[in-house]
């Protein structure tokens, strides 16, 4: 029997994760993290979500704690997210949250308090120090976990990683968990559906209007907020009708977005920074996934450069590029401009 701290968001996956650990006979304590000052009735970190997690804990007969990591979340996730946008980058805040909060701050505190492991409801699998995609290809979350290393994997459990989402829901229903029918969470937790990215970013960084030029440098449109533009974006560039044009680069210094045709967006490679390895550094043939829901494509890793087997749509700078070999997550890095 091990002492496991089960991170419970109030969603169905983490509810079932905690339930499976209890069934396996572990000594389980649930914890819900308040990462964001959400005073509303709905959405992540709201009282309603914490209530749901606590009710599941009651059904499972385990203790439930609530920890406030608002300061750290702000400093290590939200502020860098805003800063990245100010530089014209397209960050993955969920990855930074996993890196710094769930498998950083939380894991350290769990260890400090004598827990052997932290469990979450992520759809991914850990087998003998190696990280693999979750069993449900539609729900696999290994992309946002590539930043994990050996020291963390030893102390992490992903109990639902071997299950499909349908199996998770069936299990929740069978156990009578009040979260069985809850819809899946979507998108970035601290960006509200009402205000969107713009509301969040405008409260954090100055948003500047920008010129939109074609590859020859001629003005073809304007944007209200350069910081909200993502490489690969097609709509909202003020370029009017005609041929489809995509943002192919963003220069915050000159406040300019360069647009081009689909062909201009194609890239043969992407250079990575902040490389992180799950087990050991890799090189050579790999598969790469360039966003949370993209399909993996064949590539070759040479140093910090990923060369695609076939040209691909350019990776927005700031996005994480995750390297796989089959189902195994080797590691990844962040796309540079």
């Amino acid at each position: 029997m091990t002492r496991v701290l089960a991170a419970m968001s109030g969603g169905v996956d983490s509810s079932v994760a905690a339930a499976l650990l209890v069934e396996e006979g572990h000594d389980v304590v649930g914890v819900t993290l308040r990462l964001w000052d959400n005073d509303t009735d709905a959405g992540c970190c709201s009282v309603a979500e914490i209530d749901d997690a606590r009710r599941v804990a009651h059904v499972l007969g385990i203790d439930h704690l609530v920890w406030t990591f608002v300061d750290e979340f702000d400093a290590q996730v939200v502020a860098p997210y805003a800063a990245s946008h100010a530089e014209g980058l397209t960050p993955n805040p969920c990855i930074e949250c996993n890196r710094h909060l769930k498998f950083g701050r939380l894991l350290r505190r769990a260890t400090q308090l004598g827990f052997d492991a932290v469990a979450t409801g992520h759809h991914a699998r850990v087998v003998e120090g190696r990280l693999y995609r979750g069993a449900d290809p539609l729900k696999d979350q290994s992309y946002v976990l590539y930043v994990l290393g050996q020291d963390q994997l030893r102390r992490i459990r992903f109990p639902v990683g071997t299950m499909t989402k349908a199996e998770v829901r069936a299990k929740a229903a069978a156990l009578g968990l009040p979260t069985a029918d809850k819809p899946d969470s979507q998108d970035v937790c601290f960006v509200t559906t009402s205000g969107g990215r713009e509301a969040l970013l405008s409260s954090r960084i100055p948003l500047h209007p920008g010129r939109v030029v074609d590859t020859a440098g001629a003005d073809v449109g304007r944007v209200d907020a350069l910081e909200l533009v993502t490489v690969g974006q097609r709509r909202g560039l003020g370029t009017g009708g005609g041929a489809k044009r995509y943002a192919i680069s963003i220069d915050t210094a000159s406040r300019t977005v360069v647009v081009g045709e689909a062909a201009d967006l194609q890239a043969e490679s992407v250079k990575l920074t902040q490389l992180s390895w799950v087990h050991e550094p890799a090189h050579g043939p790999v598969q790469v996934q360039t966003s949370a829901h993209a399909d993996p494509v064949d590539a070759v890793l040479e140093g910090t450069t990923v060369r695609f087997a076939e040209t691909q749509r350019r990776v927005a700078p700031g996005q994480s590029v995750v390297l796989y070999r089959g189902d195994e997550v080797l590691g990844g890095g962040i796309a540079t401009a």
């Binding site: 308040r34 009282v47 914490i50 406030t68 300061d71 505190r109 308090l113």
Partner: protein, 362 residues
Amino acid sequence: MRPEAVEAMLPYLSERFGNPSGAHAVSREARKALDDARDTVAQCLGARPAEVVFTGGGTEADNLAILGACAVRPGPTVCSAIEHHAVLHACDALGDNRLAPVGGDGVVDLDRLADLLDPSVSVVSVMLANNEVGTIEPLADVVALVRERAPEAVVHTDAVQGFPWLDVASAAASADLVAVSAHKCGGPKGVGALVVRQGVKVRPIIHGGGQERDRRSGTHNVAGIVAMAAAMRATVDERAAHVARVRALRDRLADGLLATVPGCTETGDRATKIAGNCHVSFDGVESESLLVLLDAAGVYASAGSACASGAVDPSHVLAAMGMARAQAIGSLRLSLGTSTTEADVDLALAAIPPAVERLRAS
């Protein structure tokens, strides 16, 4: 709950089920109980029976005081920066609140308070004793200042935390409005009272049948009110002896922690604190973690102020006292009461030092 309070309320949960507003024998029985309870509560608070308004707890009493008085004579509100959220948020809700700062000792700064007062001020609210750090506020001085600078303003005091430890009848004698809560003195949760001095007007915030002389509608919670009266009576009767006993326990606890835990700081000045409060902070420790270890050891402490979700929010009280965030994060509140024993203090003194040590080591 105090056994006196439990015993007092039980008949009103069963055979004496009457509604005191009715007109038959069962109702009259309830009415008598309510009248007697009102007399007792009034006496315990140094008020006339007609000045006592029963409410559904201390928060409602604070809200009735602030919203009710401000509705009668609108104007800016003034409250101390360390008020309970029941006062702070009620004042905020009115939209024109002035926060009176406190010193590092948690005592309201009278000079700064004076600067905030002018004849337009509607309500001034300063608590009798703080719920987190236990500091006793100079209420008589506050009232004198208000009478001079804002003669038409109504002075409210939240005496919820102060009542078990202080003679509210004299300590809050000069305040126009005084809020108390049953559960802080061994009564049930969800019952409280507001003293509204003769001549002071509050507009009701709950409308209905006009109970409590049209100041708080709703069928009386007879059992709860009777139990509150019993708890308050017992508290007042035993107060002097209990305060002396608990003060000795608290001093032993605080002195013990200061002596055995390096990097331990006591919050506030014991000379101006209620006897049941032991508030300390530990350098390099997060109280969120400490609470988990202490909970497992059977020591039930708290940190910050409880929030709706059950999380611990950073304390606005400590921030107002100028305590650095890093120190506030390591703060711990140990509340002592009438049921606290020497063995409880022994347990805390045995559990806390190694828990702090363990957290610092890892």
